[in-house]
Amino acid sequence: MAMRIVRRQVPLVLTFLTGMIYVSEWFVRETVLTDMTTGIANFIQTATVFVFLFSTINLTVIHVARIRRQLRGPKQLREIFLSSFLLAMIYIVGIVSAYYTVVRGWKLPSATPEYMWWYNNWYLSSSATAYAGTLFYIIAATYRILRIRSRESLVLIIGFFIALLYTTPVATSYIFGLSSLGEWLDRIIVTAANRAIMIGVGIGAILMGIRTLLAMETGYLGAREE
């Protein structure tokens, strides 16, 4: 019973109190409230680190369990090598290098040549490459999917065509009137549509916030057993 109260009720009360402090701070010019929100923000920063630590441990447990369960021979080793095993190795290297920089004197990793070498030559290049891979999916989708199959798709395609040309600097330089047309489209049509969606999303977020404050939205605590 006590565990149930701690697991379900205490987070709800904390959520409500924290939310009310933030709401009050927005409307009332009181130093106490500002100090409380600063304190809560600092607490959130600290808690985020613990969440990261907890989820790292959780992840390690899941992958170690998977490796133990599946590693019965060289064939299985090959299968899980690229996923769990390599991940665990990279984790250990990362943790060791981070520990190494801490021993060096609490400086940020950017001050350590070894870490910067690893970062610039491995992480930076692979990360940028992976992000650049998005290009190929987008252009493949543009070619395959954007076909004028109906009246609605015709309207979509016309907008796409103008937007793509407008964002191509060489086209705007040489095609007369494209710049003004694109600017008009951006300023009037696109802005109006985006404003409408943003208003809807904003109102939805407010109601979601109210539901969370009033303990109606408890998805973050796991499903309720009514």
Partner: protein, 300 residues
């Protein structure tokens, strides 16, 4: 007994146009971008009103103003955001602004690359770290920005390398001027996430613009500009640097052409190739709809 003839649809030129191998598109795009990277053509870049507004937001401030730069870009957008940051820093140094940068971990790791390129400007203008510019490590989102602009000393008291603020005349000066927002004339942010735009408008413009006249400009990806445009049109943002193209326009306005112009060349050509393939695909689709190509095989 003779088998019934099969009705086999002959693959026409229109089918082939609709079904071009996507790998050919990839190869063309990669080739064109690689060639341009090595041999830039110097394609024209028209300057838009938005780029002029972004430039003027900085240019019309007096010397000695305080510019706060928040960079939240990732390794993936380095080709777009790094030239933008370099252009803004060059402009700020030329105008003798006090520069305070703040970010979380990734941009700090990428900053040595930027520092290498702006070092000649810093040396020419006799900029001293801690006195004329500073870089702070402040992770966290919107709640932290609200507190930074209220009182940065309550959030952190050391810079990214652990140097205490008490040893930095710039930060001491900011403290002596009262709440931090008294030492914020313009905020420039860089991001790949839409929430930063909303958050910056809320925490900078909505909170402080009426009080102190603080200006807000930002560099965001092209895909995010339609979502940020309402803020620019309404005056919540004084300018938007439209991704790589915006950075190229800024470089042209500043008179210091750089990496962004090369990126723009590559972008122009790649987009034209994609457009050409799309047009070909749609021509094939349309013509296929209005033609017949079923040919029965064999005889009766």
């Amino acid at each position: 007994m003779a088998e019934k003839p099969e009705l086999k649809e002959k693959k026409t030129i229109w089918d082939k146009l609709q079904d071009l191998p996507v790998s050919s598109l990839f190869i063309l795009v990669i080739l064109s971008m690689s060639i341009i990277y090595v041999y830039p053509i110097g394609l024209p870049v028209p300057i838009t009103q938005m780029a002029k507004d972004t430039f003027n937001a900085l240019n019309t401030l007096p010397s000695g103003s305080y510019i706060w730069i928040y960079n939240a870009y990732a390794t993936g957008s380095i080709a777009v955001h790094e030239p933008g940051l370099i252009a803004i820093l060059r402009h700020s140094i030329a105008k003798h602004f006090k520069i305070i940068l703040w970010s979380a971990d990734t941009p700090i790791m990428l900053f040595p690359r930027v520092l290498e390129k702006i070092k000649p400007d810093l040396d020419r203008a006799n900029y001293v770290y801690g006195k004329d510019w500073a870089y702070l490590y402040i992770p966290g989102g919107e709640p932290i920005w609200a507190n930074i602009l209220q009182d940065v000393w309550s959030v952190v008291t050391v810079d990214k390398d652990g140097k205490p603020f008490t040893q930095m005349p710039l930060m001491v000066d900011i403290k002596n001027r009262g709440p931090t927002y008294n030492s914020v004339n313009i905020v420039f942010f860089q991001t790949t996430g839409g929430e930063t735009v909303d958050g910056m408008v809320r925490q900078v413009n909505v909170r402080y613009h009426q009080m102190t006249g603080v200006r807000l400009i930002g560099q965001i990806l092209e895909i995010m500009v339609p979502a940020a445009r309402p803020y620019y049109n309404a005056g919540n943002m004084d300018g938007i640097m439209n991704g790589g193209v915006g950075a190229a326009e800024y470089e042209l306005l500043l008179g210091r052409p750089g990496a962004a112009l090369k990126v723009t060349d590559m972008l122009s050509l790649a987009q034209l190739i994609v457009l050409a393939y799309w047009a070909v695909g749609n021509v094939g689709f349309f013509m296929k709809r209005y033609s017949r190509a079923s040919v029965p095989k064999g005889g009766g």
